[in-house]
């Protein structure tokens, strides 16, 4: 397996479209790296540059320390799995997996050994004689993976490989891919726009927007310490709640005012607001739905973080309830215990867990405090 280094990678198309800007990343051997971001953010383009399917306009790509910018894709020792995979309809599972090796004129005995080994890893041993039409969606997807595995590449590149599967199968395949990573000990770069996939699979996640890397970090760190408003809003479902708030500094006390609600900032979060000169300025207050509480015990212990509103929608999801309400014209979501007595139309009191708030600069959208 291999390590990768991307230094100042750029992609500018002949029509002037600047798809990827100054992309820097060091990928360790055996890492599972996820590129995530909205459609058109440059994640697939970056993957295609690593594969050699797109020319690199600027910067340096190294695999195992060797510069790869001008190396032909077939000589980069990579294998890919893409979204619109197709199995050869008239071939058996075995032949589908062996086909790529046959094209490369690999000796028959070696092909046989590699196909059988990949089939074993993917639990396809008993299906090798079947044709694609006799396979389920998940089995077909595993065959597509098998075609990549038989190449025994240094790096696996996967571009939304689960996008064409239904929700249930996606969850199942996510687990399969995770297991595969453990079994192969492979370096994997995986592109997705689905943040659940990103959070559950990646050892590190690269969040991209408009061709620019926003943050590179572990799933947990991205969730708890997002570096800007975009990352905070993109990672997490339901999304983080955002409200405009006026910051007031009086001596050692810092408060955030949202309409009629005055929220006291805890000691652990004050310093950047005071030192950043935010007194009198409007900032963006962010809080995750699970940090908005409706329990009486929490409310009575948090008199300085109370907000009141009327429940617009009550959504029971079994293990949890989502409550939707407005605060000063902004829609908010609270993720609460299903035993809550609140229902649509009720007047409700919530307390924010101020130790978990995030504050962002309204103009630059960068995080002031997490």
């Amino acid at each position: 397996m291999a390590s990768l280094s991307l230094e100042g990678i750029q992609k500018i198309y002949p029509n002037g479209f600047h798809a990827v800007k100054d992309f820097n990343l060091e990928i360790e051997d055996k890492e599972f790296i996820i590129f995530v971001g909205p459609s058109g953010c440059g994640k697939s383009t970056t993957l295609r540059m690593i594969a050699g399917l797109e020319d690199i306009s600027g910067g340096t790509l190294k695999i195992d320390g060797k510069v790869m910018n001008d190396v032909e894709p077939k000589d980069r020792d990579i294998a890919m799995v893409f979204q619109n995979y197709a199995l050869y309809p008239h071939m058996t599972v075995y032949d589908n997996m062996a086909f790529g090796l046959k094209l490369r004129k690999v000796p028959k005995a070696e092909i046989d050994q590699k196909v059988k080994e990949a089939a074993r890893i993917l639990d396809l041993d008993k299906l090798l004689d079947r044709k694609p039409k006799a396979l389920s969606g998940g089995q077909r997807q595993r065959v597509a993976m098998g075609r990549a595995i038989v190449r025994n590449p240094k790096v696996f590149l996967m571009d939304e490989p689960l996008s064409n599967l239904d929700a249930k199968l996606r969850v199942q395949m996510r687990i399969e891919i995770s297991k595969l990573h453990e079994r192969l000990g492979a370096t994997i770069i995986y592109v997705t726009h689905d943040q659940t996939e990103a959070m559950t699979l990646g050892t590190r996640i690269v969040v991209m927007k408009d061709g620019v890397v926003q943050q590179v970090d572990t799933p947990q760190n991205l969730y708890t310490t997002p570096c800007n408003l975009f990352v905070a809003g993109f990672i997490g479902s339901p999304q983080m709640n955002f409200m405009d708030a006026k910051c007031t500094v009086k001596g050692d006390d810092v408060t955030l005012t949202v309409g009629a609600h005055v929220l006291k900032v805890p000691a652990s979060k004050k310093k950047p607001l005071i030192e950043g000169g935010y007194n009198g300025k409007t900032v963006v207050l962010g809080i995750r739905p699970e940090d908005v509480h409706d329990s009486e015990a929490f409310i009575s212990n948090s008199p300085d973080s109370i907000i009141e509103s009327q429940i617009k929608v009550y959504e029971l999801l079994g293990a949890e309830v989502f409550l939707y309400f407005d605060v000063e014209g902004t829609q908010m979501t609270a993720r609460v215990n299903p035993r809550t007595t609140l229902r649509t139309g009720d007047k409700a009191v919530f307390a924010l867990d101020m130790e978990k708030i995030h504050v962002f600069d309204k103009e630059t959208e960068l995080t002031i405090t997490n």
């Binding site: 029509n15 002037g16 479209f17 600047h18 894709p73 979204q83 990549a148 630059t364």
Partner: protein, 301 residues
């Protein structure tokens, strides 16, 4: 005795299309000339009678008289009246792997025909299944691109035509796919799939005569037509247009102060006379840059 290069070429061609290898011995140059003639006739006759790809290629590129199409199609067991879509694939080079993968992706029973058109293009004529809608052609094009990316590690771009009802329309479909490929590569180079019906304003510009394009640019920029803008200016303009002329959002994304962006836009206005903050000027500018790209490519060809 060695053969002349012409005879050698004809023998290779015969082997390529029929699979037949011949051992020729000629005593005189005249005899060899006669043999060459006979082999060429054999190749032509074979192509006419048995080679579907050659027939379809002639139909696409040269055109075949309509009265002849049905008869020749029947001889080759190609249904003349069937709903089909033509895909045109563009690759850096059409090596054996690309063709082999496509042959297996569309095996014979699917009645899909692969027709080489030049060194870098390959046409794929595919019938529409009864339950298939023209919109699903994009998915097929995606499958072609993704499969070749994955299996052959080849960068390819694919255009496709509108649906044709019979073989007589094939030359029109080929014109559509060729145009779509040219327009797509010129104006939408970041994409890999170019449906003929989704070429937008690029098609309009591409079909304008060069002189008209030059007049248009002169009308906008006067005599000092900018050849191309520098990278930074292009990036600023593109981002500003992508953000629907929103200064705050653009300056944030470009990590620059809004006053810097306004200054840059004013510099562009000084240079071109167009205030990009106004919709009409922004639209004119966008079209003008597309025309400039087009002319630039035309001049380089």
């Amino acid at each position: 005795m060695g053969h002349t290069p012409e005879l050698e070429k004809a023998l290779n061609e015969l082997k390529r299309i029929t699979g037949l290898s011949m051992d020729i011995s000629a005593d005189t140059p005249m005899e060899e000339g006669q043999i060459l003639q006979q082999i060429r006739c054999l190749c032509t006759a074979y192509k006419e009678k048995y080679n579907k790809a050659d027939f379809l290629q002639s139909l696409m590129v040269n055109g075949i008289p309509s009265y002849d199409i049905n008869e020749r199609a029947a001889r080759l067991h190609i249904a003349p009246d069937e709903r089909r879509v033509l895909f045109l694939l563009d690759a850096k080079s059409l090596d054996e792997a690309v063709t082999e993968i496509l042959k297996n992706l569309f095996p014979a029973q699917t009645k899909t025909y692969l027709v080489p058109v030049g060194e870098t293009n390959l046409a794929i004529l595919r019938p529409l299944k009864a339950d298939e809608k023209p919109e699903s052609m994009r998915k097929i094009a995606n499958t072609i691109v993704d499969t070749l990316n994955t299996e052959a590690l080849a960068h390819v771009q694919v255009s496709y035509s509108s649906v044709i009802e019979n073989l007589a329309d094939l030359s029109g479909a080929f014109r559509e796919t060729s145009l779509a490929l040219k327009v797509g590569k010129l104006f939408y180079s970041e994409q890999t799939i170019f449906p003929y019906n989704e070429l937008g304003i690029g098609r309009l510009i591409y079909q304008l005569p060069v002189s008209l394009c030059e007049n248009f640019l002169r009308e906008i920029f006067g005599d000092s037509i900018p050849d191309r803008f520098d990278e930074e200016t292009t990036a600023t303009i593109n981002r500003f247009l992508q953000n629907n002329l929103n200064i705050a959002e653009t300056s944030r994304q470009l990590h620059m102060h809004r006053n810097t962006l306004i200054y840059r836009l004013e510099q562009i206005q000084k240079r071109t006379g167009l205030d990009l903050r106004l919709f009409e000027d922004a639209m004119t500018f966008k079209i003008a840059t597309m025309v400039m790209n087009y002319l630039h490519t035309e001049r380089n060809q």
